[in-house]
Each structure stands twice: as C-alpha cells, then as structure tokens.
C-alpha cells in the first residue's frame, strides 16, 4: 500500500541534479543583463563611435560612425600629436594625473596603514568606537568634505589664521597649489583605503604573530616578516580602490584649485564634454582613460572574485 503511494508520488519529484528547469537561472539574470547591456556596454560602443567619428563641418557637432570599418582615427592623432613638443598641451595634464594619483595613493597608504593596524590589533574594547569613527566619513558626502576644506583654506580662513600666529604670511592655498590638490585627494579617498586594510589586517591569525614572537622575533621584525607580507593583498586592493577612481577625478581639482596649472585627465574630459564642438575629443579622452585602466581593473576584479571563492 505504502509502496504504491510512493510510486505515485515519485514522478512528481524531479531527479537529483536536475532540480531546476534549465531556463530558471537565466531568467533570473535576464533583467540585470539586459540593463547592463543596454546602459553599460552599449554606451561604451557609442563612445567608441563618437571618438572615431567625424564632425559636422558647420555646427562642429559630432557625427557618430557606427561601422568600425569606417572609423576615423584623427581624434587620437590629434591627442597624441599634442602630448609632447611645443604644442604639447595635453602632455602636462597627463603626467600630472599620474604624479598626483601616485602621490595621493601612497600618502593615503602611509597614513592609513598605521590607523588600520592600530584598530585591527590594539583597539581592544574600544574597537566599536574606532570602527564607527572610521566609518563616519562614508556618511559625509564627498562634496561636503571638499567644501569643508574650501572654507578652511580660503585666504582669510582658519588655516591661514592659525599659521599667522606663527608669523607665516597668508598663503593662497586654493589657487593652483599642487599640494592642496594632492592632500585633497588623500582626504577624499583615504576612508576607502583604510577599510580594506583593516579587513585584511583583522584576518591575520593572532597565533601566527605569537609564534613569531615565541621564535624570537622582535616587535619590528614580526611586523616586517609576518604582518606586512600577509597584508600585501589588502595593500594592493586598497591602492587599486583609491587610485582608479582618482584617475577620473575632476571635482577635487575644480574645488581646491580651479587653475589650469593643476588640471588632470578628468578635467580634460570634463572641459571637452561641456564645450560645444569638443564632444568627440571628450569621447577620445574617455576611451583613453578606460583603456589605461583596463589592466588594473581586470586585475582587481580577478583577485577579488578569486578571494571570495576561497573564503566561501
């Protein structure tokens, strides 16, 4: 009797391994894939066809060329032709971008590492307090953080007032000072550096450090030979997370300097896109930026996805 019941119930239950109809998961993913295809991949192709397109001779508006066989590389010839030499007006911003981004990322690392290290290893019972304080900047919008420094750094601002006590003449911090821009970038992006560093340092097993000490390593050599090597992936992640967005940053520069003497690649893009007739040039710069960042972005995505697999 029970057997017959079971036999009748059996066909209802799909066999193991084919629990799901084949279309089920693709159907779940379809809306997201369509969205990304339509609003991420397609736009990149539009940028390509504008950058390699032609210009309307009268209105100077860009005419996209959709067929790759007819693409016209003159925009890129124009850009690369003006990188160096007498008319090399694109060269300095490019170099500056690299110099500022590298400097700001390294300063962020040098400042952020001890902070993350302290909170991960020594904060003890006050860890929650420190974490809240480290997370606080994420609640403050980037623009507000820059506005705060604009207020402080104005010629009659608090920084110059304080320096005045020591007899320093007021400095025009906000008109084309590279140091202001670099420190502004550090200030803006350093929270994104500290978080992955903290996560990485927190994961290091305490017993490894104790073993190093037991084996006679001093505090410094424990750090140099155990902690530092083990936090290398976190350092790399932190550097990528802060430096890649910095390459496209134009607003920090606009707010803290506003001078062509400190303009970066992001500023070139922003200016070109908002100037009538230079849209194609802007598209070419966007492509250049994208091409430049593809290797580090791919590296970041690969290492992150591999790590999440390992953790699971």
């Amino acid at each position: 009797m029970a057997e017959r019941e079971a036999a009748r119930a059996a066909p209802k239950r799909p066999a193991r391994g084919v629990l799901y109809p084949r279309w089920l998961w693709p159907a779940f993913a379809t809306p997201g894939m369509l969205w990304l295809a339509l609003f991420f991949l397609l736009p990149l192709y539009v940028v390509l066809s504008i950058a390699f397109g032609t210009l309307d001779p009268v209105f100077r508006s860009p005419i996209p060329v959709w067929n790759p066989l007819n693409w016209d590389p003159s925009q890129f010839q124009f850009i690369f032709g003006h990188l160096i030499g007498d008319a090399g007006f694109f060269g300095p911003p490019m170099l500056r971008t690299f110099a500022y981004v590298i400097a700001a990322s390294l300063v962020a690392l040098v400042v952020g590492y001890p902070v993350a290290y302290f909170v991960a290893r020594f904060a003890g019972r006050r860890r929650v307090l420190f974490l809240v304080l480290l997370l606080a900047p994420f609640c403050v919008s980037y623009m507000m953080r820059m506005l705060a420094w604009v207020n402080l750094l104005e010629v009659d601002g608090l920084v110059n007032h304080t320096l005045g006590i020591f007899g320093v003449t007021p400095v025009a911090w906000l008109s084309g000072q590279p140091i202001t821009v670099v420190l502004g970038l550090v200030y803006g992006y350093i929270p994104y550096m500290i978080l992955p560093l903290y996560a990485g340092l927190d994961r290091i097993d305490n017993s490894l450090l104790e073993a190093a000490r037991d084996l006679g390593a001093g505090r410094f050599s424990t750090f140099r030979r155990v902690t530092l090597p083990m936090s290398r992936p976190a350092i790399l992640t932190g550097l990528l997370i802060v430096s890649l967005p910095m390459f496209g940053d134009y607003f920090t520069n606009d707010l803290l300097s506003g001078s062509p003497r400190t303009s970066m690649l992001g500023n070139l893009i922003n200016t070109a896109v908002s100037t009538p007739g230079e849209a194609a040039e802007g598209a070419a710069f966007v492509l250049l930026l994208f091409a430049l960042l593809i290797p580090p972005m791919v590296y970041y995505a690969r290492s992150t996805s591999r790590r999440s697999m390992v953790e699971a």
Binding site: I50, F122, M144, V286, A301
Partner: protein, 315 residues
C-alpha cells in the same frame, strides 16, 4: 582582539617600574610585548581628528548668524529656514535640490535593488561563461571612474536616442547602472555562505523551484537585501558625477551639484546648511539601517561589534 586584553591580564609582563625613571612608560621596552602602542594610537587619533574636524567646523558654520563661512558671528538657524531669501528652505533652487536628491535616491533604490537581487541569484546559480562575464563586470564597476559611465550615458542620451530626456529619467538610469553592483555583490556574498542545501531540502519536501526561492531563499536573504538598499540610498544621496553629467535644467541638480557650483563662488553658510542636511539624511539612513540590520540578524548571535564588522564589511 579580545585575546590581547585577556593575555595582558594573564602574563606577568610589566617589570616593576620603581627603579626606572618616570619616563619609563613613554620609552619602548623590548621586554613587554603587550605594552600600549603609544605611537600608533597617537597617529590614529590625529588621523581621526584630521578626518572629522574640518567637517565638524563646516557643520558649525552652517549655524552662523552672519554671511561668513570663516568668521563666527553667533548662533542662528538663519541659513536653514529663517532667512527669507537665502536660506535652504526659502531659496527655491536649494529647496528643489533637496527634493531632487531624495527623489533620485528613492527611485534608484526601488529599481536597483530588486533587479540586483534577482540578478545575483541568477548569476550565482547559473554556471557558464556569460554569467561569469557579468559577475566580473559587477566587480569592475566598484573601481571604474564614474566619469566614464556618466559621459558614455550622456552621449547615448544626446547622440543616439533622444526619447529618454536628460534630467530625472536619465539620472535614474545612470545611477541604477552604477549602483547595481551593491545589491549584486552583497547578496552574492550571502548566497555563497548559505549554499544550496536549504532550497534542495525545500524541493525534496515538494516545493517547486520558484517556491523554494521565494519561501526559503528570499527570507534568508532579507538582511543582505536590506543592507544593500541602505547603502544604495546613502550612496545616491552623495553621488555627484553621474547626477551632474545627466542633469538638464537647474531643477534637476541635486544637493551635491549645488555645493560644487557654489563652493567657490556664492559664499553664504546656506551651502553649509545644505551640506549638513545631506549629512543628517545619510547618518539617519545608515544608523537606522544598522539597527534594523542588527534586529534582522539577531538570530545569528552577533554582538554589537561583530554586527558592525559585518555591516562594515558590506560597505
């Protein structure tokens, strides 16, 4: 880190300091492995001061009674709603910016989170090359400069089609595209730790695949979904590049765009007041989000610190 404090109690580490100079406690002592790292702690506090003080001052000056953003002239709520022309509430451009920001944040969250959640489930369970590519792209969008997405979409909406106007519709599309990775990555992390055994058990008990997802998997995902919604909302409020690139007339500019436009020119504390309102909205969203998140995960036996750790790990 609790091990450290435990060990400190257990080990007879500190040699008696009576014979040493009073400076002993400030000098490094090689014999005490658990001594307080004074240097590190100093650096940490200096960093925190540096990171929080300027913003604190900006908030303070939003309550300035005078027009200056650098000289204190007494406390007042003038720049919030008292001043008949220049305050956030009475200046139509600033007030519009406030509402536009909230509008974009709500619409984007409502669209991005559901798409992202089902996308995450689909990509996680569907083996193959295509989902791998999209998963890869999700991670890339964490580090891609926003200006690339913003300018590319600007070209789409001005050169390719014109039926989607710049302004709110274009801004929402841009924001959803950029924010989609939050729900996807957070929900996927949760899916990886859940595994597939619960759904399989549900289906062994007679649930259809869709029922298993809806009635077993989804309830387990709620905390992750909720956390990602909070993050998307708070992040959209702070967004600048995409919102500015895809804005049309003045009324579609958000608070962050107003701050960008005004920071170096029209200098009244109304701008600080606007920034402070943004700050309060973000803090309320995140703090409320954290407590609801902790309530949702209270069965996971997380202490306050561990819950905060986990919440932070999802940022």
């Amino acid at each position: 880190m609790s091990e450290v404090s435990l060990e400190r109690g257990r080990l007879p580490v500190a040699p008696s300091s009576e014979r040493r100079s009073p400076l002993y406690r400030f000098l490094p002592s090689r014999s005490n492995p658990w001594r307080r790292p004074v240097m590190l702690e100093t650096i940490t506090w200096l960093y925190l001061l540096w990171s929080i003080l300027p913003v604190g001052l900006a908030v303070l000056f939003s309550f300035n009674a005078g027009r200056s953003r650098t000289a204190w002239q007494g406390f007042s709520l003038r720049w919030y709603f008292i001043d008949p022309a220049g305050s956030v509430w009475n200046d139509p451009t600033l007030r519009d910016a406030l509402f536009q920001t909230l509008k974009l944040a709500v619409i984007t969250t409502v669209i991005a989170v559901p798409i992202g959640v089902i996308f995450a489930i689909g990509v996680d369970r569907w083996r193959g090359r295509l989902p791998a590519v999209f998963n890869f792209q999700m991670l890339v969008s964490f580090v891609i400069p926003e200006i690339i997405v913003g300018v590319a979409l600007l070209f789409v909406f001005t050169q390719l089609t014109t039926f989607i106007p710049l302004g709110t519709p274009a801004q929402v599309i841009g924001l959803v595209t950029f924010q989609l990775s939050f729900p996807v990555v957070i929900v996927r992390a949760r899916l990886l730790s859940i595994g597939s055994q619960y759904e399989e058990a549900a289906m062994d008990l007679g649930a259809s695949p869709v029922q298993a997802v809806r009635r077993v998997l989804l309830p387990m995902l709620w905390p992750a979904i909720f956390a990602s919604a909070v993050l998307v909302f708070a992040d959209v409020i702070d967004d600048f590049v995409i919102v500015r690139a895809l804005s049309a007339e003045l009324s579609s500019e958000t608070m962050s765009v107003k701050i960008y436009n005004g920071a170096r020119s029209t200098a009244t504390p109304a701008l600080n007041a606007l920034a402070t309102i943004m700050l309060v909205i973000s803090i309320v969203a995140v703090v409320l989000g954290f407590f609801v998140y902790r309530r949702m995960t209270r069965d996971d036996n997380l202490g306050g610190g561990a819950a905060l750790d986990q919440f932070a790990a999802q940022l």
